[in-house]
């Protein structure tokens, strides 16, 4: 019982840290820099469009700049890109059923392995 209680504390600790990490507010000016690092250069080998000097990357950077100036938000820009170039262009996989294992797998793994070990080895 005590072990379970300790786990809950542990879980709460992790959640607090995660919320803290997500809480960093996104200003409009930062959006452009963030977006160009999260969009893949489709003609390069694993480079984002911020890093690449390929013509396509330069075009896409300009397009992102344009959309940010028009006041479009992150979701719009991402939607625009994935519609034209498929999800492969986004470095952040969408939170869709297809990617459920990818997103939840690590936390599920953490829970199962912790439960297994502590249940087995804590003194009763």
């Amino acid at each position: 019982m005590k072990a379970i209680k300790n786990f809950i504390y542990f879980g709460i600790l992790i959640s607090i840290i995660q919320i803290g990490a997500l809480a960093g507010a996104k200003k409009d000016d930062i959006l452009y820099n963030q977006m160009i690092t999260e969009i893949r250069c489709m003609v390069c080998q694993n480079q984002n469009i911020a890093e690449s000097e390929a013509p396509l990357a330069i075009d896409l950077r300009n397009k992102v700049r344009e959309m940010v100036d028009e006041g479009k938000d992150e979701d719009y820009i991402k939607g625009y890109m994935s519609e034209r170039y498929s999800d492969f262009i986004l470095y952040e996989p969408s939170f869709s059923p297809r990617n459920l294992i990818l997103w939840l797998g690590p936390f599920l793994f953490l829970f199962i392995i912790s439960y297994y070990f502590f249940r087995r080895s804590l003194k009763k």
Binding site: K2, I14, Q45, F88, L102, S121
Partner: protein, 642 residues
């Protein structure tokens, strides 16, 4: 001529490795003197492969383009040192380097294993021999660096320009020393399974080997990161590229291993778990090789790949990993392993450390393999990059970093007094929070992430140093300082690394700008004046070099010379050489983009605060690891380490 000697010696080495593998199961039935054969063949392997390796180097220096490998990775105009480093720059040569290092570790294992039981030692060395044999077969059948060209070309194709660089001369050998060092740990673990036992003394014997591999891995990864930073020209230090992940996974597991070995040695707990970690660590090294060498990854690292190689490594991987796991599930129940402890105990926190590290490894494995799996199932391809790891990996690693600062407090008192420990925790927490808040004054762009980074840095360093001083005064044996300095340094390195990584990722300034000769760009309190640009001839390339004058608060502090180079061998693709002014508190980094017209260029300028702390932290970890190994050798009595 020299290449024939090389080929011949490789075959001898192959025979020698076969003898090493077969003498235990076969010769033991005929003669009782097979053990001296095992001991001598395990030592002979290293000089043999070394001769073959030297042959290849000599062939490179002599521009022996009759060899396929040399004609496709070298050129008569290539500078002398790059001719030597080209030996291991391509696939075939790097596999020969892998074999060389494997034979080196086998040699060391053979030399320093006298203290082990004879039967154990012989089995252990035979397994090392099996690994040697496997990789030599791979070398000979799919990646022979001594393969001849059908017709001899007049000149070679030249070495990939990205690899003509100092960082790349030393990055692969160091990384391989780490990867392959894990083969010792792996063979040892499998031997334990075969012997149905894992004694305390054995745990003590294997830990320095795990620590050495860990230190080399750390150094190799840090060198790779440093190289990517200055050579690839976009100022990043970690890309979550699949090949980086491939080296990071064994590192994380080995980190877990060196912690669990402590519990194993001192409390005789987690024996089976430690064995499993040892198997996983080396298996992930092999998986990394498979991923890189088969070419199934899209990555900047896929310089050489071939499906036949992938098939061979996959087969070898299946035999080694599948075989060892099979033995594990069959034999591990026979190893007595009584795990039982309180939640507020050292064992418990070492377990949490292990759980978090393994989960982190699983996350990276998932992130690396998931796109491949989707692709294999015929579903739409996806990319998994930085945003994913920031969202999933960091929350798992943050509690681990907090734990690294908490464990020392936990062991301040020998009494198992929870109240005392909680009070102590609270007190140090208050001090650290106060110091972290104080640090806000020193940052112009402050956010929650930076605060968390600074907090973790102060938290770990404060507690670790406090712990060191405390131990020194409390302990009767004054050499305690020396036995713990390695551990202290490594954990401080982690703290320094975290500080650097958080600050640079949150406070870096990047500007991409079009600039004309004579113009000045300002970033923070720095001004960059584009002074001039000129062309010049390099040994095997044409270069364009720009000159920037850099002012800090209107005082000239340095000149930077970013370049563009065109290597004829590289289909005239321009390569970027950054101009960098390094400093502990910030790097200034300029790269040339493209020529807009006459004297107008697009340029990228970066201000990277505290980026050097990333590699400084890694170096501290490396020295910490090495010091731990050295101090273990010096102090005979079981040291109170942890």
């Amino acid at each position: 001529m020299i290449s024939y000697i090389g080929s011949f010696i490789i075959l001898i080495a192959l025979l020698n490795a076969s003898l090493l593998v077969l003498s235990k199961p076969i010769l033991s039935k005929i003669t009782s003197d097979y053990d001296s054969l095992i001991l001598s063949t395990s030592k002979l392997q290293f000089p043999l492969v070394l001769i073959a390796f030297i042959c290849l180097i000599v062939a490179f220096v002599n521009d022996d383009f009759s060899l396929k490998y040399i004609s496709s990775n070298s050129n008569s105009a290539l500078p002398f040192f790059y001719k030597i480093s080209a030996t291991w720059a391509g696939h075939e040569g790097s596999m020969l380097l892998w074999c060389l290092i494997l034979s080196f570790w086998t040699f060391m294992a053979s030399m320093y294993s006298k203290s082990l039981d004879t039967q154990f030692r012989l089995k252990f060395l035979s397994i090392m021999g099996f690994l040697n044999l496997g990789f030599l077969l791979f070398l000979v059948f799919t990646s022979n660096p001594f393969e001849k060209n059908i017709s001899i070309p007049i000149d070679g194709k030249d070495l990939n320009p990205l690899l003509q660089d100092f960082g790349l001369i030393i990055h692969p050998p160091m990384l391989y020393m780490g990867y392959v060092g894990l083969s010792v740990v792996f063979s040892f673990a499998v031997t334990c399974l075969l012997q149905h036992d894992f004694k305390k003394e054995w745990a003590k014997w294997i830990r320095p080997w795990a620590l050495m591999s860990w230190s080399f891995l750390t150094l190799g990864i840090a060198l790779g990161s440093w190289w990517a930073y200055y050579e690839l020209g976009w100022g990043g230090w970690w890309f979550w590229d699949p090949v980086e992940n491939a080296s990071f996974m064994p590192w994380l597991i080995t980190t877990a291993l060196i912690h669990s070995l402590i519990t194993c040695e001192q409390k005789s707990m987690f024996k089976n778990w430690t064995i499993l970690l040892s198997i996983m660590a080396f298996s992930l090294s092999l998986l990394g090789t498979f991923l890189v060498r088969s070419g199934i990854l899209i990555s900047v690292h896929s310089f050489a790949n071939d499906p036949a190689r992938g098939a061979f490594i996959l087969l070898f991987l299946t035999i080694v990993v599948g075989g060892s796991l099979l033995i594990y599930f069959k034999n591990s129940p026979k190893i007595k392993d009584n795990i039982s402890f309180d939640f507020f105990s050292r064992e418990s926190f070492f377990l949490i450390n292990n759980i978090l590290l393994v989960t982190a490894t699983f996350t990276i494995l998932l992130g690396t393999m998931y796109p491949l799996l989707l692709d294999l199932l015929g579903l739409e391809k996806i990319s998994v990059g930085v945003p994913y790891y920031n969202a999933v990996f960091l929350p798992i690693m943050t509690p681990l970093a907090l734990l690294a600062g908490y464990i020392p407090i936990l062991f301040l008192s020998k009494r198992k007094d929870k109240k005392y420990m909680l009070n102590h925790l609270l007190a140090s927490l208050l001090v650290v929070i106060f110091l972290s808040l104080l640090s806000i004054a020193f940052f112009d762009n402050f956010n929650l992430n930076v605060l968390l980074g600074v907090f973790i840095f102060i938290w770990i360093s404060f507690n670790i140093i406090y712990d060191l001083i405390n131990r020194y005064y409390l302990s009767k044996r004054k050499n305690i300082f020396f036995t713990n300095i390695g551990m202290t340094l490594a954990h401080l390195g982690l703290a320094v690394f975290i500080l650097g990584a958080t600050i640079v990722e949150n406070n870096k300034v990047e500007k991409e700008i079009v600039v004309k000769i004579g113009e000045t760009i300002e970033i923070k309190n720095y001004a960059f004046k584009f002074n001039s640009i000129s062309e010049y001839d390099g040994p095997n390339y044409l270069g364009v070099k720009a000159k920037f004058l850099v002012y800090e608060n209107n005082n000239l502090i340095t000149e930077l010379y970013p370049e563009k180079r065109i290597y004829a061998s590289n289909n005239n693709m321009p390569m970027t050489e950054a101009g960098i002014d390094p400093g502990l508190s910030r790097d200034l980094y300029i790269t040339l983009g493209s020529l807009i017209n006459d004297d107008v260029w697009s340029v990228r300028i970066y201000h990277k605060p505290f980026i050097r702390l990333i590699w400084l932290g890694a170096l501290m970890m490396v020295f910490g690891g090495v010091l731990s190994v050295l101090s273990k050798r010096k102090s005979k009595p079981v040291a109170l380490s942890g």
